[in-house]
Subunit: 343 residues, 2 copies
């Protein structure tokens, strides 16, 4: 039983190349950086040698020396001890955009599984996210934690909505306007009793909720607490929240869901309870995830430009890292009319 002898042919290093080329380590280093300081001929010789022997620069050493990592941490805010689970496709699509722009700028993307609290407190044992900056893909109910991180030294930008006492930079949609557009649309469609489902413990949700109230107030409609179902993302599923609304026995002919994922669960549950969409209830979602268009029925929803959002997040973060000041920004926000609300 011979012990497994890992044939770890230790990788070539600069010193090896230097010896082979008969020059010094520093010359090799400069040659590989294509520095003008080294003679063109020598440079080409060394580069050829490197390619021939399939030399790969040790990024770890390089980054360490340069005190850079070219790595950006992305954290998904999740409930304290919940495992990483993005149930909402919107975040995936946002993530895709962030990833694309990071790569384009020559950075890697470290997907953190740590909860926001853990990152903020820094008490994650000996482990530590080692990166040049942080992108937080949503605020959840971690506003205070975020403020704390912002007070630290780590550059950070956040997807979400602006809050009065906020000390960090956000990029996000115009959530208040989104809420208004959705609610106004339902009113114009003739809805008399409009229910709302979502999590307004988050800043984004809160603004959408405010927009909803604003429009109801303008239309002279008193809010009905029974039609407002607060979703605790940490605890119950979208479906459970919808079932709660249905179980309450209160009737409604319009439903504003604070995300498309909720809207899908809602439409499904409504159907199961013998109600048609949009026949009995007109439904509006939020986000315009790619599935929204192909759901049955297709979903009327408030569009959030994740492509632009990702780009802005990355741009702002890199500027922040460079020591610039950056301002929070709001993306244009529109409603997209589809079948789920058209009678």
């Amino acid at each position: 039983m011979t012990p497994e002898q890992p044939i770890k042919k230790s990788a070539l290093k600069m010193t090896d190349l230097a010896r082979m080329a008969g020059v010094s380590k520093s010359t090799v280093s400069r040659a590989l950086q294509n520095s003008e300081l080294v003679n063109l001929e020598t440079r080409e010789k060394i580069q050829a040698l490197a390619k021939e022997h399939n030399y790969r620069l040790n990024t770890q050493a390089r980054n360490f020396r340069l005190k850079e990592s070219f790595t950006i941490g992305v954290v998904i805010p999740s409930a304290e001890n919940a495992r990483w689970q993005v149930t909402d496709p919107f975040f995936l699509e946002l993530l895709g955009s962030i990833s694309f722009h990071l790569i384009e700028q020559g950075h890697e993307m470290l997907l953190s599984g740590l909860s926001l609290h853990a990152v903020a407190s820094g008490d994650d044992g000996l482990r530590k996210i080692n990166c040049d900056g942080l992108i937080v893909a949503g605020q959840a109910d971690c506003h205070e934690d975020l403020n704390r991180i912002a007070d630290g030294q780590t550059p950070m930008v956040v997807w979400g909505a602006q809050m009065p006492d906020q000390r960090y930079c956000t990029v996000g949609g115009d959530n208040r306007r989104g809420g208004e557009l959705a609610t106004r649309h339902l009113l114009e469609r003739g809805c008399k009793r409009i229910a709302i489902i979502g999590d307004w413990a988050t800043p984004e949700g809160l603004w959408r909720y405010e927009g909803y109230h604003q429009v109801l107030a303008e239309a002279g409609i008193a809010p009905e607490p029974a039609l407002e179902v607060m979703l605790d993302s940490a605890r119950d599923s979208h479906r459970q929240a919808v079932l709660r609304l249905l179980a309450s026995g209160y009737t409604f002919d319009g439903l504003f869901c604070l995300s498309d994922a909720i809207a899908m669960a809602a439409i499904n549950a409504l159907n199961e309870h013998g109600m048609t969409v949009p026949g009995d209830v007109a439904v509006v979602g939020y986000d315009d995830i790619s599935l929204a268009r192909y759901y049955t029925p297709s979903i009327t929803t408030v569009y959030q430009d994740r492509e632009l959002g990702g780009r802005w997040l990355v741009d702002k973060l890199l500027r922040l890292i460079d020591g610039e000041r950056v301002e929070s920004a709001m993306l244009p926000t529109e409603i997209i009319l589809r079948n789920s609300s058209q009678r």
Copy 2:
């Protein structure tokens, strides 16, 4: 206009702590590792000092010294120059599981935006994914590239199906069986003409396709090329593929979609063309993504255990990194009956 003076209070290092404690750097290092080699009293003093001054170990330096990164690269196989876009929720759910298990094992997860080809060729300029190992979340049509990476020094495991000439380790479902289960179910439901949509240029798709043919053959049904719509994931959308099938004018009463995402697009398109599901056409999907259950109608589908899959991938990779040999593995595979196929 004073130039922005970045107040970069340079972080505390071990030498600083050492000076403050009146001991040497090495003693601090050992104290922070809680090594028996240093006197308990000294140890506690240093640890207290570290906490007091909020000292944070420089992981970059440590990892460099130890030649480890505790980072695993995850690459999503995508079309050559396509930007990172996981349109299929299944991958997100798999990713979630991988992430969870990596973190649990004390590793970070580096999401690469590089195409598989780029990683394989290593010719990604000076940039290089710097990690202890690679998890590839799908084979796509990159079988050869994967073999090439496997010949290199980077430990790697792959989500997908086994191929005859394969030199890398895979974890995946029993795709042939999945294809058989789906097709047999449709036959038992009374379907006479069963169409199939998917990408069988990938190993996974290929086995499902084989399973489909196998069962048809057993039932004495000759395959009909017109009912087989090959989806080129790189080029056209799920929807386009479905429309192609519909446009062909050939009739069918059963439809086997090689993913739930395709099934959703298919059901939507069928509805638009005035056909009901499951009334006119019984549809079966693949993956059992979480939305499948709540789609309208809910989708009959072949379940793939991504939770277990993620765990196996991570376990195998870490073992591989430790120098062990590991074998490819197949997850249990079952069909889940729902409304889209029940008449």
